[in-house]
Amino acid sequence: MSTTTSAPHRKTVAAPRAGFGSALGFELRKLRSQMRTKAVLVGALIAPIPIALAIHSQGNPPKDTLFGRYATTNGFSLALLILGYAGQWVLPLLTAIVAGDIFASEDHHGTWKTILTRSVSRSSFFAAKAVTAMGFAVAVLVVLAASTTVFSVLIGGQSPLIGLTGQLIPVHEAWRLVSASWLSTIPPTIAFTGVAVLLSVWSRNVAVGVATPVVIGMVMQLIGSMGGAETLRPYLPTTAYEAWHGFLAAPAFAGPFITGLITSAVWTALTLGISWTILRRRDITGG
């Protein structure tokens, strides 16, 4: 260092334009650079194959599970059976892997002081991190949905689907309904992203941010299945993971999906609002 030349030439410049866009680009670059991110995406792409194969090869199909009866003979049933399982804990976990880490990792690496002493405000960082977490959650969900549906049909076969009310759903309609069912889980997944973001901001701990949303999801499902909790059930994001059932009845009904949409929006707004309040007021004394 002592042998190098003088400091870079300085000039007085106007404040550079850096805001949400800059912060979003920064977050996306970090996300792309992390092995974990790639592993989750590759896992979402590949994991459905052995799962579908394992279920399909069972001698006795899981008859007491929704769409389990025909899971070994019908690819669409197989995709919906996997969706039922995924909604229990897989989707909350997949979203929490990034959302639960994205704020707490700045504490873990001690980098809040590095990024907040540049030209981007806390509000821009908050928005960029929240959008990155939600975007990643949706991306993983879409990859998982596409992979599961395609490989389930390839493994289980493409034949008309028997709906929840016993109606026969033609193949082209089954493709549409199975896809819609998977996509209907986007709102609750975003709500769980909000929960994970809140835990990440509040706890400043990566493990808490990643693991706790899964536990919360399981507790919500437990509450939802308990007698006497019927009034509470529609307002839990876990219930929204079951909203697709209405798509596969005859006549189809969208009430649970709309309720789930509103519930998820409220959960997302509340969790992100609280998260922002905590971050905005926080004194960055460490890191």
């Binding site: 260092m1 002592s2 042998t3 190098t4 030349t5 003088s6 400091a7 870079p8 030439h9 300085r10 000039k11 007085t12 410049v13 106007a14 404040a15 550079p16 334009r17 850096a18 800059s22 912060a23 680009g25 920064f26 670059r29 970090k30 650079s33 992390q34 092995m35 690496h109 001690g110 980098t111 809040w112 002081k113 590095t114 990024i115 907040l116 002493t117 540049r118 030209s119 981007v120 405000s121 004194d283 960055i284 004394t285 890191g287």
Partner: protein, 313 residues
């Protein structure tokens, strides 16, 4: 360049729970000045710098940076300002260059070639494509300086830049800071090392337990400095101690190692040591225990200041 002060802090106070970390301090740094904030660990230096960067909100007081305030101007306060607080931290899974590129994005981009330029300035060009997770402490410190220079600042704020470095690293870091200061940059340097501040800074604020214990120029500080203490070790320390009784103005005490600590004005100490030698007591060691400025620093920060010595800002 306007004539606004680079830093104009007045009556800044910050309390964490029951602890008053910063207690009504005032600091003014003129443009082009190399200013030291000195104090032992826990004096409130870092808390003050964090408030300057907007990482912590003061409970009371007024803080302007180039005439801008956080309340009025938001992150525009940091226009022309760069630096690091405590040890600079980066993303370990990115290379040094990727970290700089990412941070440049947060500044709205930098001019072409600047990243190479700052890497060269801190002598990290050859190691820029290694992941930061494998960097040594000194390399991360230098990357911190590079990240600061990316902003082409008018005010560079460095918090203990030589902390944790080996002697060669300390030498290099000081040389770098001096070179930056010589180029006309305003530098606000926090340190607990008097020698570092004395070597680099024009003016200094010494903090103690969140308050200002001294403010003034290095020349003022030198004028106030007491005579240094000396470590004296002889073949017969007991006799040397007895001889001290005949010398007014010399204080001799036992050191925990068995040697003696001699303090007093230089001439009086010299006369005493001459007598020790003349008495046939062979010297093993006679070395200063601390520089005069270090002695003053310890006096100001450990045992408080005389009312007449304390200067308000």
């Amino acid at each position: 360049m306007t004539s606004a002060l680079a830093v104009d802090a007045e009556g800044i106070t910050k309390t964490f729970g029951a602890v008053r970390a910063v207690d009504g301090i005032s600091i003014r740094v003129a443009q082009g000045e190399v200013y030291g904030v000195l104090g032992p660990n826990g004096a409130g230096k870092t808390t003050f710098l964090r408030m300057l960067f907007g990482l912590i909100r003061p409970d009371a007081g007024r803080l302007k940076v180039f005439d801008r305030t956080w309340a009025h101007d938001g992150t525009a306060v940091l226009t022309g300002v760069a630096g690091f607080i405590e040890a600079p931290r980066f993303y370990p899974y990115l290379t040094g260059r990727q970290n700089l590129e990412s941070l440049a994005r947060l500044d709205g981009g930098v001019r072409r070639g600047l990243i190479e330029e700052v890497l060269h300035t801190v002598d990290l060009t050859d190691r820029a494509d290694r992941k930061v997770g494998g960097y040594s402490y000194g390399m991360r410190q230098r990357l911190g300086v590079a990240a600061s220079l990316l902003r082409e600042p008018r005010l560079l704020v460095l918090d203990e830049p030589a902390n944790g470095l080996d002697p060669a690293g300390i030498r290099d870091m000081r040389a770098l800071v001096k070179r930056l200061a010589d180029s006309g940059l305003t530098v606000l340097l926090s340190s607990h090392n008097m020698e570092e501040v004395e070597e680099i800074c024009d003016n200094v604020t010494i903090m103690k337990k969140g308050s200002v214990a001294f403010h003034g120029s290095i020349a003022d500080l030198r004028a106030m400095a007491p005579d240094p203490g000396h470590l004296l070790d002889t073949v017969d320390n007991a006799r040397a101690l007895t001889l001290a009784r005949a010398h007014d103005g010399v204080s001799v005490t036992d050191d925990e190692t068995g040697a003696l600590i001699v303090s007093g004005r230089t001439q009086v100490v010299a006369a005493y040591v001459t007598d020790v030698v003349a008495a046939g007591i062979q010297l093993r060691q006679f070395t200063p225990t601390e520089t005069p400025l270090e002695a003053l620093f310890f006096m100001l920060t450990d045992t408080g200041t005389e009312p007449g010595q304390e200067a308000s800002i």
